[in-house]
């Protein structure tokens, strides 16, 4: 698309039937061909991305070769497991239930997180609920600094800006959740000689919305090239249950309900989809702006934020760096790759 073309939401429309067949063939080729595994293991959260990935795997490999893991923990919303089970049931794949709370308790996940929150909210107790939030990006040029929101047992709330130490403490503690889930997925992958399927969409993959060696780890990522809007198009075509398609995307990481918008992206995903597409295709901010009902300046701000997040994501995507190339017959790893 050139800078002079008329930009619209239609830019993200895809031929769902064709795309599903293309992805299914890629999954078959990766699992049975390249990796020579007997099936797929996938963590099903009840969200749109994992539901679509599970549906694609069931279609590509056969439902009997797909295992869905339901892995709630103490802070998971109660409906998470229900929606995950609903997605699995609709596909006819088998599920395994693993409550990961005891592992997280043993690792000190909750204790470490609570200590970090108490650094900025001294009255915080384990009976409180919490989440961390970012201010809206569109309001102005202010740095987007995380705050913690705490709900006390009596229902009152407080909000405090995080310090560097408290932010990193909360982040490092809660990242145990994604890493424990991935550990469990690889346990079943080893047990079943299966491949682990990662579920990031393009926004998450591009912008680094994942935990390194947590949900960022996988053997294949079949929807990483799709904008979130396109994932919803595939969901409809694949018959993902309405209840899942109508849920707002959440992080399901903090005890207070937290949208992906307030945790990371700062703008609705359909807006960000269009801005990311525009930036990727050289469309001027002024041309994208009317489509997303924002000013050119606001779209420019989103463009700058996308670029800044990409810089942070470079480390998250980076494999281990080597001092020199290691050459083996038929296999070359590049230093610095």
């Amino acid at each position: 698309m050139g800078a002079t073309s008329t930009f619209s939401r239609a830019a993200l429309h895809l031929d769902a039937a064709r795309e599903v067949e293309r992805i299914a063939e890629a999954i078959r080729s990766a699992v049975f061909g390249t990796m020579k595994r007997k099936g797929a293991v996938i963590g099903v959260s009840g969200g749109i991305d994992s539901s679509v990935c599970a549906a694609l795997c069931a279609r590509a490999l056969g439902p009997e070769r797909v295992t869905g893991l339901l892995m709630p923990e103490a802070d998971s919303a109660p409906e998470t497991t229900d929606f995950g089970a609903l997605a699995a049931r609709s596909l006819g794949i088998r599920t395994v239930f693993e409550d990961i709370t005891p592992i997280l308790e043993a690792a000190g996940c909750y204790r470490r997180r609570d200590a970090a929150i108490r650094d900025v909210v001294p009255d915080y107790t384990p009976a409180c609920k919490s989440k961390i939030v970012l201010p809206n990006m569109l309001a102005g040029d202010s740095y987007r600094i995380f705050s913690v929101v705490v709900q006390f047992p009596d229902g009152t709330h407080t909000r405090a800006r995080l310090t560097s130490d408290s932010y990193l403490g909360i982040l490092a503690a809660t990242n145990f959740k994604q890493r424990v889930r991935k550990m469990m997925e690889y346990h079943y992958a080893d047990r079943l000689q299966a491949a682990v399927v990662g579920t990031p969409n393009r926004l998450e993959y591009d912008q680094g919305f994942f935990v390194k060696l947590g949900d960022g780890a996988a053997d294949l990522k079949p929807i990483a090239h799709l904008y979130k809007t396109q994932v919803y198009q595939l969901a409809e075509y694949l018959g993902v249950p309405d209840a899942i398609r109508q849920r707002p995307p959440t992080t399901d990481t903090y005890s207070l309900s937290q949208s992906q918008e307030e945790f990371y992206f700062s703008v609705p995903f359909d807006t960000l989809d269009l801005c990311l597409f525009g930036l990727n295709h050289g469309v001027a901010a002024s041309e994208v702006a009317p489509t997303v009902a924002l000013t050119s300046e606001q779209v420019e701000r989103i463009y700058r934020d996308i670029a800044a997040k990409r810089k942070v994501a470079e480390y998250l995507h980076s494999p281990p760096l080597l001092v020199e190339e290691i050459r083996t017959p038929g296999n070359v790893e590049h230093a610095g790759a």
Binding site: D141, Y143, R144, R161, T163, S164, Y167, K311
Partner: protein
């Protein structure tokens, strides 16, 4: 008060790891040059509050105040003169 050298020393020690190959200009944008990311801004705020005994308000979290050695020094000077 030797604000500019102190702030420069903090930036070089914490974000450039003391490496000499990056000659930090006083007016160089931290964000544009990739020296400081959003977590780095938190570290910078913590340093300023501790070192100079000031409180950085939410409304002051702006690139105009914090995005270069010169801007940070001017901001601290204004805060101390308040």
């Amino acid at each position: 008060m030797v604000l500019v050298p102190e702030i420069r020393e903090f930036i070089v020690a914490n974000f450039l790891f003391g490496r000499a190959e990056h000659a930090l200009e006083d007016d160089e944008s931290f964000l544009a040059s990739g020296i400081i990311d959003s977590t780095g801004v938190l570290e910078l705020i913590g340093f300023l509050e501790k070192q100079y005994g000031i409180t950085v308000e939410n409304a002051e979290l702006l690139p105009d105040n914090l995005d270069s050695v010169s801007k940070v020094a001017s901001f601290v000077r204004r805060k101390l003169g308040d």
